[in-house]
């Protein structure tokens, strides 16, 4: 167990990070992701408050759908948090920020003229993420209804008479669902999921899976000084919906062009790059690694790095790994397919 954002979380279960990683790519795993916050936003002002606080446009989806979005710093358009919104009912949104960013989200949602009802329900529920190519098939033995919730769909379902909310979302690059279950009923559901042949997986595999899939982690690829445009996530931002928190600062950056861009690095050999290591082209520093590790699927080191935007895909670069120059190629993630 390791401390993580105020929670004690398992780094891995019995078989270890790499076995759990491979199980997610080839079978099905379950993560306990209760550390994600859940902020319930309801009432008349809910829709408008979310439209103002976040970058994406809820008009592109509808009740019963989920959307990935960002909360920006109002002054410099840094990504204060990246969030999944579950639009559960017409006037109920379950907003899921990262472990430690819940307060920022609550504050931002309270800024508009019409403040909705905002309740932090994080401690009332657990969230299980069931992911992998076989996730739906195996979960169907527990609940066919839950297993059938489509990609980025959100549905209320009963499992053994317990009301849960299921969303077709995840953080691994694989298909799967996430289930929000009342905390008291979570241990029994966890056991039923394991009994269906789904492998428990910990934080270690969660990180190597998201890295291999090229998905950003707040504090590494997103955070103070990093805008959605620098992170290559311009699709999360909908300038055409009208003004939103941070939109003016972000529009300025859009117009002059971001000074760095998040890219993938594929290492020659197994050595894992690590956060903070310098990336060089012909002896000149062109950027810094934001996350790096070993890719179990490729059998190679992989990294995400913020690089000079002029660098082309396919460029041969070196990473300064504690004084050793490790050769790598600039590439477009994901790395696992």
């Amino acid at each position: 167990m390791v401390p993580f954002g105020g929670w004690d979380m398992p780094l891995n279960y019995r078989d270890g990070t790499i076995a759990e990683h491979q199980a997610c790519r080839s079978g099905a795993v379950v993560f306990d992701v209760s550390h994600l916050g859940t902020v319930r936003v309801t009432g008349d002002g809910a829709f408008a408050a979310l439209q103002w606080a976040f970058t994406n446009d809820l008009n592109r989806i509808a009740p019963g759908k989920a959307q990935y979005t960002h909360l920006l710093d109002a002054d410099d358009a840094s990504v204060l948090d990246d969030i999944i919104v579950w639009w559960v009912d017409e006037d109920r949104f379950d907003v899921m920020p990262n472990a430690s960013n819940t307060d920022r989200v609550v504050n931002a949602l309270s800024e508009g003229p019409l403040v909705p009802e905002i309740t932090d329900v994080t401690t009332n529920r657990a969230v299980l993420a069931i992911q992998g190519p076989d996730a739906r098939e195996r979960l169907a033995a527990v609940s066919a209804e839950a297993a059938a919730v489509g990609r980025f769909a959100v549905a209320r379902v009963e499992i053994d008479g317990i009301p849960v909310v299921v969303a077709g979302t995840g953080y691994t690059g694989e298909d799967g669902v996430e289930i929000a279950v009342p905390a008291g009923a979570a241990p029994a559901l966890w056991q039923r999921v394991l009994a269906a042949g789904i492998t428990p997986a910990g934080l270690g595999a969660r990180d190597t899976l998201r890295l291999e899939a090229g998905l950003p982690l707040h504090g590494h690829e997103l955070g103070p000084g990093i805008s959605p445009l620098q992170a290559g996530l311009g699709w999360v931002v909908r300038f055409d919906k009208g003004e939103f928190r941070g939109s003016a600062a972000l529009a300025e950056e859009r117009d002059r062009g971001p000074h760095r861009l998040l890219r993938g690095l594929l290492v020659e050999g197994r050595r894992p790059p690590r956060e903070g290591q310098r990336v060089l082209l012909d002896g000149t520093e062109i950027g810094v690694v934001s996350s790096g590790n070993f890719s179990p699927v490729r059998g190679q080191g992989v990294a995400l790095a913020f690089l000079d935007p002029a660098i082309a895909d396919g460029a041969a670069v070196v990473i300064d790994v504690r004084g050793t120059e490790v050769a790598a190629t600039v590439t477009k993630p994901p790395f696992h397919r």
């Binding site: 780094l11 270890g16 990070t17 790499i18 050595r271 894992p272 690590r274 590790n293 070993f294 050793t324």
Partner: protein
Amino acid sequence: MNVPEGLRYSSDHEWVQVDGDSARIGITDYAQDALGDVVYIDLPSTGTSVDAGSTFGEVESTKSVSDLFAPVSGEVVAVNDELADAPERLNTDPYGDGWICTIKMSDAMQLDGLLDAAGYTALIDG
């Protein structure tokens, strides 16, 4: 944790198997468990001179990087090159196929500064 009798142990969680003036070296079961899945090892080259307590390589797992410290001084005379492509052997068989290198000792008296199985067990249980 498995701590075989008949080996010497360093407080840096390496084991030493002594045969005359040669010392075969690896990491302990406790060390591999603490590291987690090993994905890369930076091995020393044959012919390298090492000093007891100095760094002679690196081990990287999915969660961290750790230095390897020479438990004795001498010259590296054999290296387990198979670890380059199969570093997971440090996890699966730390006292066998996961051996790292053999050092020809320049000062066998240094062995007296290492722990026996009982002493090492006390260290990791402490």
